[in-house]
Symmetry: C2
Subunit: 288 residues, 2 copies
């Protein structure tokens, strides 16, 4: 039986996502060759020694011409910058795909810059972590969810979906605009809210810091993301202002209910509690 | 040496906080008698059997007359309702104190309802958890922080501070108004923000739910609190609207920076990241 994985597989960027993707693909098909692009020489060396990549290039080169699929696993600004150049290195019929967290803007860039004869299909694994190359895991894809954008050519979309499915992920097909509206609400807005709350709490003075507990810690956790990872992605999500307006409306409504009467406060906040339970059925998480 | 603990110690409410307080006091001074008030008969029985309380009353009664200090450990609405009646049961010179999460409103109620000759000192342990009586721990106070309000008579304030210090907590003295302003920002506003975000995310449709990850989960965790615990407390914090305005201002500023330019977005979001790192020095917390 032929492997469902594209052979050789191009992987650009050997951080946590790229190196995990390469490890997962090699675990699924030990005969698979990975052609990697990675600027850091020590990471290239490690990837070759570890068998994570069989070819490791310092920059995109003609070796990518043999790859039917190339996955861009760099921060999103680099994904955008590389789309045009990579499309001129790969062969006719090749597919470029990515792991970036905002899809509409990238699809528009791809439409401008990817050469005719090469397809671009946006994808977004809804998982990740920390640790870069050293934190990469062959099972990172297993049981995770990957949004695959259906805006591109159907045959190319199915090749990208098949790749993620072969690595053990659940594929969620959606339009780039649908993806961005959803992710604005569940990821990019929470990041901005966490960031705003961290600044506001930081201004509240030393007593506030002494009285802060795990509640503020969890609520501001996302503010830790480096700008190059989450800020650059959020900045590219045109659906973010709409999500923020929706949140502001609900926050204003809750504040008004709290000021209005005990009954109004109870009704509004119990509805919010039910909404949280619908999102994440409770299992005794701790602490204020 | 005399025990620094008031003897006998009155504890009203044997949920997690009251039962942990009683356990901690008995662990610090095994000869201490605890006079508890608890409406649930099975909890009264357990407390007597476990040695957590030596007297367990179904409702406040004349047995409290012997207690120089009575700590109210019920939800805040019950604390308010009990202040007047308890002040008529305890002796002259006794101190009533509590563990409620908002202090200004309660101090005003106490000023109206606590009889002359009895002092009220507001206190707020900045820790807690789940599990009610069964989850109570003798070491819950140890290493925790307790805000003790300095608005009351200085001698009474010091007795309450000494109680919490004897149980192993760090005492933070502050005015009730200072407490509420600080806690509005680090606890009550995060609760309302988490609640608003849970409602907004819940409205975002099934794709958003499928794409939601640990970021949304952490950011909305506080929305799980029952209204009787956190809603009733937040509702009593007059400083909440001011904290919410500050947050809205910063969220608006971040959104404007994100829309303005890559440079403005980077500056604003890196400043927020630095604010989060100042609040909680990073140690590799995971996941988006």
């Amino acid at each position: 039986m032929a492997s469902p994985l594209p052979h050789p597989l191009g992987v650009v960027g050997l951080g946590l996502m790229g190196a995990s993707l390469a490890r997962a693909a090699r675990a699924a098909d030990p005969g698979l060759r990975v052609v990697a692009v990675e600027p850091r020489p020590e990471v290239r060396r490690a990837a070759l020694e570890d068998g994570v990549a069989q070819v490791a290039l310092a920059e995109p080169g003609p070796e990518l011409a043999s790859c039917p699929v190339v996955v861009l696993c760099t921060p999103i600004a680099a994904i955008e910058a590389l789309l045009g150049p990579l499309s001129r290195l790969v062969g006719d019929g090749a597919v470029l795909t990515d792991v970036g967290g905002a899809k509409e803007h990238l699809a528009a860039r791809a439409a401008e810059q990817v050469r005719p004869g090469v397809a671009f299909v946006g994808a977004h694994p809804m998982f990740g972590g920390h640790g870069g190359y050293g934190g990469a895991r062959a099972d990172l894809w297993r049981g995770g969810r990957v949004a695959v954008c259906t805006d591109g050519a159907p045959e190319a979309v199915e090749r990208v979906a098949a790749l993620h499915a072969a690595l053990g992920a659940e594929v969620i097909r959606c339009r780039a605009a649908e993806h961005d509206a959803a992710v604005a609400m569940v990821s990019h807005l929470p990041y901005l809210v966490a960031s705003a709350l961290a600044v506001a709490a930081g201004e509240a003075g030393p007593l506030a810091l002494r009285l802060a507990g795990p509640g503020l810690k969890d609520t501001t956790r996302l503010a830790q993301f480096p700008f190059d990872i989450q800020g650059e992605v959020s900045r590219r999500n045109a659906r973010l202002p709409e999500a923020a307006e929706r949140l502001s409306r609900h926050l204003g409504r809750l504040l008004a209910a709290v000021a209005d009467s005990p009954e109004a406060a109870r009704a509004a906040l119990e509805q919010a509690r039910a909404a949280r339970e619908a999102l994440y059925p409770p299992r005794g998480e701790g602490g204020t």
